[in-house]
């Protein structure tokens, strides 16, 4: 079974909307969804600040579908990823790399869909949820 690292943009958007690709990912049985404690902390912080109280309950329900990697952020790796991607996304790129999953799913196309990121994560591939869903359904 392929493993997929879920980043904050996907987890937040799945919490925010039950009808998009991010939410659909959580219904697929062919993949194992994985995330890190940093992603959970970041997403929850933003759910509490930007969304309605009922979204928080949905967030906790979605998290039950995730395997949580107990990894500690690697400061040396983050310093390296800052050279590869916009500084604001460096932590997530490092976390995805540490997870050693087959895929990283993100909705941040602008910063994650670059040759530098693809080369850094190789063989891990970066996809948006829609791409992953289409790939699985082929």
């Amino acid at each position: 079974m392929k493993s997929v690292f879920v980043d904050s943009s996907v987890l937040f958007t799945a919490t925010n909307s039950p009808v998009g690709g991010s939410s659909k990912l959580f219904t697929l049985r062919q993949i194992r969804l994985v995330t890190s404690r940093v992603v959970l902390a970041e997403t929850e912080r933003n759910v509490r600040k930007k969304l309605e109280p009922y979204h928080l309950e949905r967030f906790f329900v979605l998290v039950e579908h995730l395997s949580i990697i107990d990894q500690i952020p690697d400061n040396r790796l983050i310093a390296k990823t800052k050279q590869i991607i916009a500084e604001k996304d460096a932590v997530i790129l490092a976390e995805a790399s540490l997870s050693k999953t087959d895929f990283l799913v993100t909705l941040n196309r602008k910063h994650f869909f670059t040759d530098k990121v693809a080369h850094f994560l190789k063989p891990q591939k970066v996809l948006i949820p829609k791409m992953l869903i289409e790939m699985i359904s082929i």
Binding site: T13, S17, E42, K50, P53, E57, N108, K130
Partner: protein, 90 residues
């Protein structure tokens, strides 16, 4: 939650029959009081309100927010939240 048209009452009309209305609310049925046509307040069964408060407290106690990890996190902008929603459409 149960609220139908009969349970939406202008404050001006509610004033004279507050005692009757208080008897009417039970469990998750409540009365919405309006002012100038907009919802202003609600008359709620006290046990239901307590239940809601307890549920919210329970929910807010549960957390993945670890103070040691917060420096590694950031606040999303409204612009990127909208962009993600757009990218998420199937």
């Amino acid at each position: 939650m149960k609220v139908d048209a009969a349970n939406i009452i202008p404050i001006t009309k509610a004033r004279s029959k507050l005692g009757d209305l208080a008897e009417k609310v039970a469990d998750d049925s409540y009365i919405v009081l309006t002012k100038d046509g907009s919802p202003k307040a609600a008359l709620v069964d006290i046990s239901y309100l307590t239940k809601l408060e307890n549920e919210v407290n329970r929910l807010y106690k549960k957390t993945f927010i670890d103070p040691k990890l917060l420096p590694y996190s950031r606040e999303f902008t409204n612009q990127e939240i909208q962009e993600w929603k757009r990218q998420d459409s199937l």
